[in-house]
């Protein structure tokens, strides 16, 4: 796929999301993040908790109003849509949430949950019912489930209902916010396979937010690594996992517990000192500097820019300057 000729489906430009936590304190959850997503690809967004990956996802669907910056979907800035345009946008972009126990309204039946979007977009009750039935079959449930309530389902089944709801309005772009982390190991694979099949049959574009690096590697075409509200590295999956450049990415990758005893015992891990610092009023320098073993003076003074070091491979690190 040649991306130079293709126009990006979603462009995130200098996105910032600050939460006020005190009179003089801002929690900078997302700080100047820019990236593109092209049609039909899966972009993995990884990082540890508190790095701003979910906030980025939520800003992209306007669950949060960004503090500054633009999110451009299909050529239009989503923060400046008219009412009619917004309705159209809601139909094109959908989200699958992390916790299938909290994201379904327990007072609504499956039919109502999945059909709510359809009715909003002007479908008659009868048509909607037929469509809900079809959707449930797509995600491996059946029409007997239509009149049941969420508590009657297992975690894996609930996540399927969540996926059916996201698919109901025929979206082009789905933001998956940790869709499998609340599920059991043997159920995770069922959901991943289903997401992959759906992408193939419907030409969907995914933003896959997760902290499980093995799963992200499996499902994504491109991966973006975030740390404390900023992007530290972005590359094609093979390139990122095979040739990580940023010290944080290297440490993160070496920390993955591999399900293979021989490899796990021979694997040399790169330890990271300390813990992720607070995102409240972070210092104006490289965010990773105080935990980085290669940090130089410059790292504590200047914010590194995300620069392309190889085609499609971007890194935000001062160490790249020397090479």
């Amino acid at each position: 796929m040649d991306k130079k000729e293709k126009k990006p489906l979603v462009q995130v430009k200098h996105l910032c999301k600050y939460f006020k936590v005190g009179r003089h304190a801002d929690l900078k959850a997302v700080d100047d993040v820019s990236f593109d997503i092209y049609k039909g690809e899966t972009v993995g967004l990884v990082g540890e908790s508190g790095c701003g990956k979910s906030t980025t996802g939520r800003c992209m669907i306007r669950l949060y109003e960004p503090t500054s910056g633009e999110v451009i979907y299909d050529g239009k800035d989503i923060t400046k849509l008219s009412k009619a345009e917004k309705k159209e946008f809601c139909q094109k972009v959908q989200m699958i949430f992390q916790n299938p126990y909290a994201s379904l309204n327990s007072r609504m039946t499956v039919k109502e949950i999945v059909g709510e979007g359809l009715r909003q977009h002007g479908m008659s009750a009868k048509e909607a019912d037929a469509r809900v039935q079809e959707l449930l079959e797509t995600v491996g449930l059946n029409k007997d489930h239509m009149s049941r309530f969420p508590h009657e389902f297992s975690g894996g089944q609930r996540q399927r209902i969540g996926i059916a709801r996201a698919l109901s309005v025929n979206p082009d772009f789905i933001i998956c916010d940790e869709p499998i982390s609340a599920l059991d190991v043997s159920i995770q694979a069922q959901v991943i396979n289903m997401l992959k099949d759906l992408q193939e049959s419907r030409g969907l574009t995914y933003l896959f937010v997760a902290h499980d690096l093995s799963v992200v590697k499996y499902i994504s075409d491109r991966v973006i690594v975030m740390y404390l509200g900023t992007i530290v590295e972005e590359a094609e999956t093979e390139e990122l996992y095979g040739n990580p450049k940023h010290p944080y990415t290297k440490a993160l990758l070496s920390a993955i517990p591999e399900a293979d005893p021989d490899k796990a015992k021979n694997n040399r891990r790169i330890p990271i000192k300390g813990e992720i610092p607070s995102p409240i009023n972070p210092p104006q320098c490289c965010r990773f500097a105080e935990r980085c073993e290669y940090a130089t003076e410059k790292c504590f003074k200047e914010v590194p820019k995300l620069r392309e070091v190889a085609p499609g491979h971007k890194v935000a690190c001062h160490l790249m300057d020397k090479q």
Binding site: S186, Q188, A255, E258, A259, A264, I276
Partner: protein, 347 residues
């Protein structure tokens, strides 16, 4: 292996809960032993009975509704099930430490860290207050907490998740128990912090010679940490053996399914993950035969109604699966030379 090597032994433990919906048979006939200085992994999905088993060992489950239907648990030769409250209290925290899954909720938010660590020594007369504090500070240093004097006076909300888990480990280890049970100690932590905690546990095992029971659903954690593994499903042990036997000479369809269903780093792009279809059994009405029969791709007629015998694959590897029977069809699960173990026979 001599008898003295065994620090803990569970024999045919059956544990259920009485609820309004009926009896939940959470643990059904579980037997295993823990040896001195080893790390034993218990792996399985949620609801397979791994946490209940661990809590049985310290009698932490609320009784009622929970109750033992049968079995024996020997700790250093003494049956825990026959102990009275006082004897139990002496074991809890002193001889057996417990690290809980969620450090955010299992620490007392109204108590200072130091006091929570010292609580283990509460009611002991053979040790002075200053000695207790010394011990607390020493263990805090050992588990990698920086600035111990300051942390000693802090409250849990002032610490990060990884730090809280270190405090939990400190509480479990402060009286130098011979066994520590870790119930999903890293599930709620990030990968880099998880790596730190796992390394810490390995290091502590080296230094203190503590045996560890590691309960997890993450095969990656098992592969990195454990010497031996127990695979549980539907309240039963389906396979047990050394780590390399379990990973490289898998002899149960469930274990195999579990390994195939996870995305590994070297899984190729086009390669499909192979999920285990279906869902775990309902333990209100546990299946009569093999608990995995309904989801097993190899299932035979015999599996549905007859609980499988245990088969010895090699010295350190036992599996409960009819596929090891001499009349069973040849599959990649069937191992040459697997012998059925009669009930009560010592291997």
């Amino acid at each position: 292996m001599s008898e003295n090597d065994k620090i803990l032994e569970l024999k045919n433990v059956v544990y259920s809960f009485r609820t309004y919906g009926g009896e939940v048979k959470a643990v059904r006939d579980v037997s295993f032993e823990v040896r001195k200085g080893e790390i034993l992994g218990i792996v399985g999905e949620s609801g397979c009975g791994k946490s209940v088993t661990a809590q049985c060992i310290m009698r932490l489950n609320p009784e009622p509704p929970g109750f033992f239907e049968g079995g024996e648990i020997f700790f250093n030769g003494k049956d825990i099930l026959k102990m009275n409250k006082k004897e139990l209290r002496n074991i809890r925290g002193r001889d057996i430490g417990f690290v809980f899954q969620d450090p955010m909720t299992s620490l007392n938010p109204t108590m200072r860290i130091g006091k929570q660590i010292e609580e283990v020594f509460l009611g002991r007369t053979d040790i002075s207050k200053s000695e207790v504090k010394e011990k607390a500070l020493e263990i805090m240093k050992l588990v990698g907490i920086s600035d111990v004097e300051k942390r000693y006076r802090q409250y849990p909300h002032e610490l990060s998740g990884g730090m809280k888990q270190r405090v939990m480990i400190a509480i479990a280890l402060v009286s130098r128990p011979s066994l520590v049970i870790c119930d999903e100690p890293t599930t709620s932590l990030d990968v880099t912090i998880e790596a730190q905690i796992l390394d810490l546990l390995l290091e502590l095992r080296e230094k203190l010679g503590t045996s560890i029971i590691m309960i997890t659903h993450d095969l990656g954690v098992i592969a990195r940490m454990c010497d031996r593994v127990i695979v549980m499903y539907g309240g039963k042990v389906v396979e047990k053996g050394t780590v390399s036997e379990i990973f490289y000479n898998t002899a149960h369809p469930y274990t195999k399914g579990l390994m195939q269903s996870i995305a590994k780093l070297d899984t190729q792009k086009g390669e499909k993950l192979k999920p285990i279809e279906g869902t775990p059994p309902d333990l209100f009405f546990p299946p009569k035969g093999c608990p995995f029969a309904a989801r097993c791709e190899y299932a035979m007629d015999v599996c549905k109604d007859n609980p499988p015998l245990e088969y010895q694959v090699c010295k350190e590897h036992v599996t409960s699966c009819w596929l090891q029977h001499e009349y069973a069809p040849d599959t990649d699960i069937k191992k040459q030379g697997a012998v059925a173990i009669e009930k009560g026979e010592v291997k």
